[in-house]
Amino acid sequence: MAHLEIAGLRKAYKSSQVIAGIDLSVASGEFFTLLGPSGCGKTTTLRCVAGFIAPDAGDIRVGGASVLAMPPARRDFGVVFQNYALFPHLTVAENVGYGLRSRRVPRDDMARRVGEALDMVQLSELKDRLPRELSGGQQQRVALARAIVIQPRLLLLDEPLANLDARLRQDLRWLIRKVQQAQGATAIYVTHDHAEAMAISDRIAVMRQGRIAQVGTPRDIYQRPVDEYVAAFTGECNTLVVRVTFKGDGGRYRVAVADTELPVGGPLDLSVGADCRLLVRPESLALAEAGAAALPVRLDSQIYTGAGQRCEVLTADGQRLVFQVPVRRQLAPGDALALAIDPDQAWLMKSAP
């Protein structure tokens, strides 16, 4: 059963529609991510769920009951903010115990639960410090402990890692995932970082201009995006303009690129003759072995990146593709090459209307 349901959610500020109709359902214990560029409405959606903003229309239900009429204090959600929002005049332990004190939890019970939460984020030694005496990563761990110690019905995380450096982001990402699973909490996570979203989520909703472009598992949205927007926002991608020449069973197609025909996968509803976009991730391209079905291209430029060389090639009809080639292969601009496209990794998308 869906734990959180969002139905027909809308919010406008003056003339701009920030959320233009969102429907979502999140299962109990699921880690669900709202992914999108800044201004796509992901944070506004989260703030509506938290109760900091009242939506113009729509409903938000948790466990089947609408929470719209409840003030944030009664919703029982744990919120982790981008800028941590720790109380600067309270120690780490007092920050973590804040929600328990509001709930009138008895003192020794509170001390025990605060201790457990701090253990979980590995900060027990620092419980008497003030927030300003901690690093950014430590502060965000305190904020996480403060949000989970109340055993919230929902854990809401608003770009919690955005202010941290890359290494810390990695570590904290795993910690958040671990804590969420240990607690069995249902989490809604907002980010603009696709790698973060992929690594941490059970499911992702990619948002665009106040709407949801696609909802799916990380594998779905990466390998089978519905359009170029989703494809581009979930990682590096090449798109080729192609025409469908043959339709097989179960979403198998043949497409024409320049003068070459390739076998590819795609959604079930495309027909022969349609103009489509073909998504080819850089990692599903390789230089062809002799004799395999291949796309003839010409090397335009190559850059040495350490792990490989990043090559830009042009097809016969002038379309550009980027991919990696092992360093041992000697290449020079202008070389004629044959590209093998992994048909299981190439995905057809409808052209933008």
């Binding site: 900091f52 204090a73 005049h89 929600g99």
Partner: protein, 288 residues
Amino acid sequence: MTRSSIWGTGLLGAPVLMLLFVFLVLPYGDMIAMSFRTPANGAPYGDAWTVANYFRAVGDPFYLGVLGYTLAVGTLIAVLTLMLSYPIALHLARVGDRWHVLFYICVVSPLLIGVLVRNFGWMIVLSFSGPLNQMLLGLGLIQQPLRLLFNLPVVVLALVHVFLPFMVLPITNALRNIDPALEEASNSLGATPWETFCRVTLPLSLPGVLAGVTLVFALAMSAFVTPALLGGQNVVLMPTIIIQQLIGAFAWPFGAALAMVLSLAMLAEIGLLTLTMRRLTRRIGRWS
């Protein structure tokens, strides 16, 4: 910091340092020296040194009484101003940009009027045949005009009115510096708005409160014109006594000693306040 930049900043501060030296340090030094001199006829003070002025200033029950009364009135004014200012500051810290300026003008308006004009204004409004009495008579609320002037409440009212901006502005500033996410965090953790105010907003605004209270207390303790004009003979505060000694009795050394005692008492109370507030900021909002 490099040597040349230290000199550069020093040079920038030079005019204000000169000003402070000439108009604060020198007069204060002179006054301290004067307070240890013997009185003299035909001169501000005699050649000999003495501590008798201080013995008289803190030994005489009359002067001690006035000092205590002045401290009490100063404290009362500071507390009343704080109670009136905090809600105003809370409001001011939350209003949007468009109304912002208008509210600020309202708050600082008492300072836009000169001290004499302001006090004569009060005297006209509150006088025996003034508009307030006329209005009350006209409404039939009173049969006889009231004696509204020359008492402590009027002095306190007038001083609270003019000191309001000195309290409102620092508190507003402190409130504006509180991250709005803190109140959201508090709400989401189950705290009611009142709890959030007591455990987050109030403790975090205490530095502003301390600044405001210190300013208003110091200003109230040293106010002279308003008590003299609106309090008359009935409100005798330390500054009035000091001026009497200096200008009325020409007892400059004794007047200087009284002024020093007033300054020290003021410093002591402000120091005490700062210490208690510092402990309070850390403590409020804690689990007791």
